[in-house]
């Protein structure tokens, strides 16, 4: 690279513009690919976009904070998007009202299972306490999980990554799993993936059926709330 090119790169690689643009471009490309593969769950757009960006950051030796300075504008929208879940909730309120008891039961059972199973399995492998605390809130949406992890002495960045992996996994597994089990109730299908895999599972559920998406969105919102309450209690009970 000549001195001029290098100067331009040094300048651009420090501005938020470059990394924001890369984030949107990578996702747009990944989404096209996913559409071209007829929304095959394995062609998960989040997974592809993250892989592409991660490789670019590693090849260009760009530190994550530099990348995040640009990508934060996208990350910020997680909050308003959570608020926006009120809309499908409102539109489907009649069906929701008829499912309050199943939702409550599934939420509580799922929330406890998500925290307990992750921590216990990880502990069986002898992982250190820092990792156990960081993995506990993995089933709730990124911003909330990072807050929970932080307040309990976990590693928020590790938590965020575990959250995303959990989300992508759930989004990949849910359709084949539910079809194999012969579940045709869109409420139950959506709710289960929303509890286990927050917003990425919810995004997948909206792709499959609007009712599934709505129930996933409710599950995601309520589980964020319940996990924030339950995670400290469960971790304390486990002596962590």
């Amino acid at each position: 690279m000549s001195a001029v090119d290098l100067g331009l790169w040094v300048y651009l690689s420090r501005t938020p513009l470059l990394w924001l643009t890369l984030t949107l471009l990578a996702y747009a490309g990944a989404d096209r690919l996913s559409a071209a593969m007829r929304r095959n769950p394995l062609a998960n757009p989040v997974l592809i976009a993250i892989a592409v960006i991660a490789v670019i950051l590693l090849l260009t030796h760009t530190p994550y904070p530099t990348y995040f300075a640009g990508a934060q504008f996208v990350h910020f929208l997680l909050g308003p998007a959570t608020v926006a879940l009120a809309f499908p909730l409102y539109e489907n309120r009649a069906i929701v009202r008829g499912s309050l008891l199943p939702m409550g039961l599934a939420l509580f059972a799922g929330s406890v299972t998500a925290i307990l199973s992750a921590v216990l399995i990880a502990r069986a492998f002898g992982l250190p306490k820092l990792v156990l605390v960081s993995i506990a809130p993995k089933s709730v949406t990124a911003a909330v999980a990072m807050g929970v992890s932080n307040s309990l002495g976990g590693d928020a960045v590790l938590t965020a990554v575990m959250v995303i992996i959990t989300g992508i996994l759930g989004a990949i597994i849910v359709t084949p799993l539910m079809n194999a089990l012969g579940i045709k109730d869109w409420r139950a299908r959506g709710f289960a993936v929303g509890v286990a895999s927050h917003g990425i599972g919810t995004a997948r559920a909206f792709q499959v059926h609007p009712i599934a998406g709505t129930f996933a969105g409710i599950a995601m919102g309520l589980n964020a709330l319940l996990t924030a309450i339950l995670a400290p209690i469960i971790l304390r009970a486990l002596g962590l």
Partner: protein, 131 residues
Amino acid sequence: MIVSLCLLLLCQLAGEAMARAARLPVPGPVIGMMLLFGLLLLRERLVFLPREMRNGSLAAVCRGLLQNLSLLFVPAGVGVVERLGLFERYGLALAVAVIASTVITMLVSLAAFRLASRLLTRDDDTAEIMQ
């Protein structure tokens, strides 16, 4: 569109303020979602609410955000580059824990949901939802 975005941000802001002030362990955006839901329930009755809540503008903004929900997780996910060492050391254990926990959680939630709804309603009541 600006008013609709303001509405979302105001609900989130109020939610964050309430969570902080009352020291609730509840995330601010989740309280914001409940606030917006409450406002939507009252939108025909409270005339002072902005017309964007009724004329489809808010609906379009919400739909736009939710259709691209998975994009919003990309920046946090790229954080994986910061923790490659941890994944090299504990990768297998973490993979087993996350895969098993996600599948078990989905199955438990599903079973609880189906059990409770079967106790509540007969099959013909839910037939329309199942289509």
